[in-house]
């Protein structure tokens, strides 16, 4: 197990470097000199030259041979790696704040929205999926599936606009904008559940149905176990493994919050910061959030694999 653990954790490093390289190629090489995006549309050449020099965009990309053999790594990519390893994510162009401070400030409001949203959505989706699977091939099942697909067919932007306009604006049931207390979170969470539950129900229903056709279910039925008991103590238990995998994979996405919910309801989370960073050309913020999101995803993946290996010894040998 220890050997597997070490091997699996070490395999994170090449992936992390790959992600770093991918984002670097995207933002620094394919995109051309980032100074153009930072300076905006009507920037003077002097300003662009200034930004280029200040932020080191005029240095070579990977290795620097100007003062060979000294300062070989005084190039853009090695410097970036070094900075990230030290936990320095640069600073915001608009506010001059350290990106690390921005991330620390933004994570709590984001989690305030996404955690309840995620948990409620999960519980509701599993409950409805079990219901649909229990009544499979009847009108209950078909109704739930069609309703789920219908729910998935409307843009989440529309859910937000309609709910914010009528429920909050016209009828005044919820506050429209801000982040001052739990009541400000109610509507975003509600919208998030309505917008997201359809897809989850459909997904979990497939998982539950997959289990329903297994041999052990037939055995249980043959020895006279009641259908309810089969569903809850046999099927649900086995379905929990794929459900859990899906949940762990989804966890990293909680940290960016919901880009749309946060910006529409004025919740100062990471999602809203990302949305505001784009038109401002706030390169370091976009970069940091993309990189962190990927790293969390890789870690979650690794944890799932380790959990699997812990549960199933056969995997360790592969």
């Amino acid at each position: 197990m220890t050997a597997y653990l070490i091997r699996r954790l070490l395999s994170v490093i090449p992936i992390a470097l790959g992600v770093l390289m991918l984002t670097f190629l995207l933002f620094r090489v394919i995109g051309g000199n980032p100074a153009y995006r930072i300076a905006g549309k009507n920037a003077t050449p002097q300003k662009i030259a200034q930004i280029t020099k200040d932020r080191g965009y005029d240095k070579p990309l990977f290795v620097n041979f100007q003062n060979f053999p000294r300062q070989v790594f005084d190039a853009q990519f090695p410097r970036l790696v070094g900075r990230l390893v030290r936990g320095d994510f640069g600073e915001s162009i608009t506010t001059k704040e350290k990106v690390r401070d921005i991330l620390v400030e933004g994570i709590w409001p984001s989690l305030c929205v996404t955690m309840p949203l995620f948990l409620l959505n999960l519980m509701l989706a599993i409950a409805l999926a079990l219901l649909a699977a229990y009544y499979r091939n009847t009108w209950v099942d078909r109704f739930l599936v069609v309703l789920s697909v219908m729910g998935m067919s409307i843009s989440s932007l529309v859910y937000i606009m309609v709910a914010q306009y009528w429920l909050a604006g016209e009828w005044g049931i919820f506050p429209v904008w801000g982040f001052e207390g739990p009541q400000y979170l109610m509507l975003p969470v509600l919208i998030g559940i309505v917008a997201g539950v359809g897809g989850s129900v459909r997904f979990y229903r497939t998982i539950v149905l997959d289990e329903m056709y297994q041999d052990y279910v037939r055995t249980a039925r043959a020895k006279g176990v009641s259908p309810q008991r089969i569903l809850f103590s046999h099927v649900l238990r086995n379905a929990l493994i794929p459900i859990l995998t899906n949940v762990i994979i989804a966890l990293p996405f909680l940290y960016t919050g919901s880009l749309l919910l946060e910006s529409f309801f004025g919740i100062p989370g990471l999602g809203r910061m990302l949305v505001m960073a784009i038109p401002n050309g706030d390169e370091d913020v976009i970069y940091a959030e993309t990189f962190l999101g990927s790293m969390l995803f890789v870690l979650a993946n690794t944890l799932t694999d380790i959990a699997y290996a812990w549960a199933d010894p056969r995997i360790r040998l592969k």
């Binding site: 992936i15 790959g18 984002t23 051309g32 606009m161 880009l259 999101g293 995803f297």
Partner: protein, 314 residues
């Protein structure tokens, strides 16, 4: 000797029995008709160098609710909303096609090489798609769209393209294309792994067919249904993502895509103009719904494994 029935014949027979799938196919046909119509008006305007009807502003009839002349009302510039929504259909299909032109070649070829050759080729390709797949989709799409938007705006070489394709449309498709191939690549790799030691492949190899011939002439027809299923299930996601990109300001700005219309309607909703939002949402709703349901039916019909799983149960 009778030719044995092909996968496609069997699948089509099963689809025809499925009334819901046939209804969805009908809806999709209507959308394709609207798409051709919109493509026609768009290109007529381009070729004759005239502003097409849907782009002409009528400031005397701004923000009018639905009426007999304008079934879906008019927008802030007095443009007919129904015509705009029809153009949105065109853009939705263009997004689907252009994105697939990126996704299918990359995903299929890389998946085929990884699955067929295995060993080092597989390691390298698996590494590449693990890296791309590690960046959360929406962040990568935003990142690429944002960067490409800047490149397209500044570079002169790109202007030859953008004379024919809207620059926003181009960057949206590039962003979604270079993110979306990972899923297809995984599936195709798995299929090639399964097929590479089948008897017909061994027979072809024994007859001296080269690896490329085996991969693309012998195996490809047997796994191509995966591409079709993947496309029909990915297409609705593209339409929904486009709306988010429009909202974020890295989407399509100069053409009336559904995302652009919905994003425009955002401010107008507070002035009581609900028809802009309703029109685009309804058009999107029926297309995405039909695609989702039809894609499911298609998968059930084309994927024999799922078929047996469902028919053996109860």
């Amino acid at each position: 000797m009778n030719r044995p029935e092909s996968l496609w014949t069997i699948a089509w027979r099963q689809l025809r029995r499925n009334r819901l799938a046939m209804l969805c196919l009908g809806i999709l046909t209507v959308y394709v008709a609207v798409w051709f119509y919109a493509e026609g008006t768009f290109w007529t305007g381009r070729i004759r160098d005239k502003t097409p009807t849907y782009k002409i502003a009528h400031y005397d009839i701004r923000n009018q609710p639905p009426s007999a002349q304008h079934w879906l009302g008019t927008n802030y510039a007095g443009k007919d909303n129904l015509l705009l929504v029809a153009q949105g259909t065109r853009i939705a299909f263009e997004i689907g096609l252009l994105t697939s032109l990126i996704v299918i070649p990359i995903g299929f070829v890389l998946g085929a090489f990884a699955g067929y050759f295995g060993r080092k080729t597989d390691t390298v390709i698996t590494y590449i798609f693990s890296v791309v797949g590690s960046v959360p989709d929406i962040l990568l799409i935003i990142g690429i769209a944002y960067v490409v938007h800047g490149v397209v705006e500044r570079s002169t070489a790109m202007q030859t393209f953008t004379r024919y394709i809207d620059s926003g449309l181009l960057s949206v498709c590039i962003a979604m294309g270079f993110t979306g191939w990972v899923g297809l690549c995984r599936l195709i790799r798995g299929e090639y792994l399964k097929h590479r030691d089948r008897q017909y492949v061994l027979a072809a190899r024994a007859l001296g067919v080269g690896p490329l011939g085996i991969m693309f002439r012998h195996i490809a027809p047997n796994v191509f249904h995966i591409v079709i299923i993947n496309f029909s299930l990915r297409f609705p996601g593209l339409i929904l993502t486009e709306v988010v990109l429009s909202f974020l300001g890295v989407g399509i700005a100069n053409e009336p895509s559904w995302g652009a219309i919905i994003n425009d309607a955002k401010q107008r909703l507070w002035l009581g103009n609900w028809w802009e939002l309703a029109g685009a949402t309804a058009a999107m709703f029926f297309l995405v719904l039909a695609l989702n349901l039809f894609g499911d039916a298609l998968r059930d019909a084309l994927d024999p494994k799922l078929r047996t799983a469902q028919s053996t149960g109860n």
